[in-house]
Symmetry: none
Subunit: 186 residues, 2 copies
DNA sequence: TTTAATTGTTGCTAAAATACAACAATGATA
DNA sequence: TATCATTGTTGTATTTTAGCAACAATTAAA
């Protein structure tokens, strides 16, 4: 029973084979790629829940591939890995869209992967559907707040207490706001 | 003729004094803070084009202050500085909203600052489309309002009276709000 | 069934936001 | 230069929002 699909891009076989074995023991499907070219071919045909990519590789390096993928709107979450990277590389990778940057050698790969996967599961598109800035502030703000609360209610099974906590609002105040905004909890 | 306002938060005086001197020689206004508490007091009254903050400081450390500010919807760009930080600290800072993470000792501070400021200038010009719903309501709301006001200021040649009218706000209240939100009309 | 926990409504007060007013400072015009 | 209009700062009154508290209603657990 496969519980997740992971692509590991790393030219160091010992490294990636070890990770692959560990993860497969607990029902993850792990695919290995030795370099960027191979990875590009693989992702054409398969979807992964997580891509773990080494920075230093022969041929195209990990940072360049990350940049190429992100500029193409690559949708799978990518984690970078490196034994020694400069701060600027870390900053650059995160700004380009990597979801994390791990230092090798990796320790406790299993909880690490679980954490990464659960983070991704909870990230939602949080786009604000076009708010009309041409409205007076109060009206525009109400629309914003409506969207904010609707999002959180959805994320938390309409649990008011929880949403209030997340919003940093007093619980009973939230009841009033929802009523004022015309939001029916349902 | 001041061309930019910069706050440097660092307990190492030699370091920050050197940077201050260099930048002041080329017409930047530089304010120093020795620690987080002092910085918090300063930003209440002044708006900066750039905040450069050391990670390791007595009292509240830079990462904690960054988190505090970001959770409040702090709008000035913050750059973190550290002599030695783990990858995870870099990742965390960037994800919290720091605009960069520099390794100390800093080299060639001038082109660095110019690059950071020009990056920020171009970011300001873009309409930020995504607001992080994972922030507490108050912080998210502040970000929303910042965007709202920046949009209207731009559309109306920074005319406060006009923007207030469009927003349905009392004119002088808008001055207070812009100050609270850290928006420098310029 | 009883008890405990959670959810929802509402009164009241504290805190925050905003309006009103005054006036200084700055800019525009005659 | 004098006058008028606009912009910006600030004190205070008013309004709005949010927190605290109480308790009813509903749901969950023993």
């Amino acid at each position: 029973m496969i519980i997740g699909n992971i692509l590991i891009i790393d030219d160091e076989s010992i490294n990636s084979e070890t990770i692959k074995d560990t993860l497969e023991d607990v029902n993850y499907n792990v695919v290995l790629a030795q370099d960027a070219a191979e990875a590009k071919t693989i992702v054409k045909d398969q979807v992964f829940d997580l891509v773990m990519m080494d920075v230093w590789m022969p041929g195209q390096d990990g940072m360049a591939l990350l940049e190429e993928w992100m500029s193409e709107g690559f949708s799978m979450p990518v984690v970078m890995m490196s034994g020694h990277a400069e701060h600027q590389d870390v900053v650059k990778a995160i700004r380009m869209g990597a979801v994390d940057f791990l230092k090798k050698p990796l320790h406790d790969i299993l909880p690490l992967v679980r954490k990464l996967l659960s983070e991704q599961a909870s990230i939602q598109e949080q786009q604000i559907s076009g708010i009309d800035f041409d409205l007076p502030l109060k009206a525009a703000r109400n629309i914003f707040e409506s969207q904010y609360f609707k999002y959180h209610l959805e994320e938390n099974n309409n649990n008011i207490a929880k949403v209030a906590e997340l919003a940093g609002l007093e619980r009973t105040t939230l009841y009033r706001k929802l009523k004022d905004l015309g939001i029916d909890k349902k």
